[in-house]
Symmetry: C2
Subunit: 300 residues, 2 copies
Amino acid sequence: MSKSNNVYKDAFNRCLRLLDETKSLPSEPELGTLLGVSRTTVRSILSRMEETGLIAWNKRNKTVLRSPRAEDFFPEEETDSLAEIIERSFMRRLLAEGAEAGMQINELELAREIGVGTTSVREFLIRFSRFGLIEKRRNSHWVLKGFTRAFALELTEIREMFELRSASAFVALPEDSGVWVDLDSLEIEHRELASEIATRFNEFSELDERFHRLIHRASHNRFIVDFYDVIAMIFHYHYQWNKAEERQRNAVAVQEHLAYIAALKSRDPAKVDVACRKHLKSARQTLLSSIPEGRQVQPA
Amino acid sequence: MSKSNNVYKDAFNRCLRLLDETKSLPSEPELGTLLGVSRTTVRSILSRMEETGLIAWNKRNKTVLRSPRAEDFFPEEETDSLAEIIERSFMRRLLAEGAEAGMQINELELAREIGVGTTSVREFLIRFSRFGLIEKRRNSHWVLKGFTRAFALELTEIREMFELRSASAFVALPEDSGVWVDLDSLEIEHRELASEIATRFNEFSELDERFHRLIHRASHNRFIVDFYDVIAMIFHYHYQWNKAEERQRNAVAVQEHLAYIAALKSRDPAKVDVACRKHLKSARQTLLSSIPEGRQVQPA
DNA sequence: ATAATGTCTTTTATCGGGAAAAAACATTTT
DNA sequence: AAAATGTTTTTTCCCGATAAAAGACATTAT
């Protein structure tokens, strides 16, 4: 077994959801762009849909015969890419108790544990190394630097530097730039979420990412934009792990975002600076407070 | 052939240079730390040295029998790691004319051209991607973003941000910190180089890197420290490629460094800020002036 | 003539295997 | 008993091979 067909399975599932909306499917190239896959994969999907009686397929004609049922879908766990599987396993280990700084990381052991080849694990570790949590010893093992208080402080230091710069670049953007429209719709989404925060608080983290990425893009600097990947990764797993006070925290953050958005719309650099600093300060607090005592020791 | 023994060959060559200095070699573990390799490799080296009559080896006794000759050394090109070989080939292509932004990068083609397996090329590209010059399309090819004027500007923007911050952290370091000693010896090296700049100008780039890395380390921030890898890589290849005015440029840079060092030693943040900005400005100019006209177009 | 479909080719993603190098364990020497 | 040497085991690095997926080319339909 050399390569799983998760791309096909995931696209198939997403295609199934399209069936409910139309009586017939578009052309193969069109479906390809819609699903983000090649025509080769589209045709595999169509073949299976024909076989299972979901559609009648004859050349350009792809008529929907019936609505998809639960059993038509591939199981969720079969739609993940290997990289995602490895990342999840690795992060579980990393955030679990006992992952102390200085610990060695063994490629072979990881690969066996997850049930994948060593190549995929190696590639994952190389990709992951840019997050600053692990380090390679040449011709030897990886060393875990640990999700420590020092890490969180270093991360937030850069984040604050980059976001302040991006925010001041943002207000300097011309009136006809598309960002103002994007900002308006983000503001609306924030207001909607704010009004139902009691029940929808868990939708915040996705909105948070979109908001900050919009601001960072204003820097027009690939290093700043790319650095948000580090932040997003840390926050993603951090929020999965630390659910304490989540509702309250998110309620506060939404309000801070709204103040921040208002400052941006005022185009007054001083106001932006104040609102941005305030939000980043509480974001840092949130992150720091979540680091367990046992991990606050700096590595040697 | 699955793995070359370049680690052994390189360590062997370095060990040969030790033979001139002593009458007998130290213990195996000691040699291992000295050469940065495992005892396994040390023993392979000793075996060969015994076979070729360089030493007499009996347990703890490793007596030098003769001085190494030119033919005892392994050829230089056999001591490079695969990663270095791939990097060089890739950079040659990248900096050569015709490497336009938007161009596709084909793993298989690269691997065939360099004469290595695809795995090594893939791993290289993943590692290289953090330099911001290439980007991966999921399940598909890599895209070259190109060594453009935009790239140079984005790079220097971050560099300036990071170095200014590191420099001000530097002056805040306590008197008993080891950095002041390091700074003193770097100052001496700079003065020595300055006095013979006409002939030794090509030694500047190595000194430059050590100087800036010392400053960046004062930030105590892994993201800042790691970012210097990007700068170092760009400058390394850039200097190999653009030799115009090299002597004059380096003479100026050495003087700027000396002024910068004096400012740091004064511990006056305002003076440091001035000296740092001045040097970074001319470094940026140097980099920008080297980008050929044809590459000044920004990617789409 | 454009855009779709049908078919064939190339590239990517991933595994297993094997030599190089590291690391662990056992034994000897000082 | 501490540190070296001798021996064995494990891990890393890298290749070749193969299915999945993408891409290119040929053919047909509007």
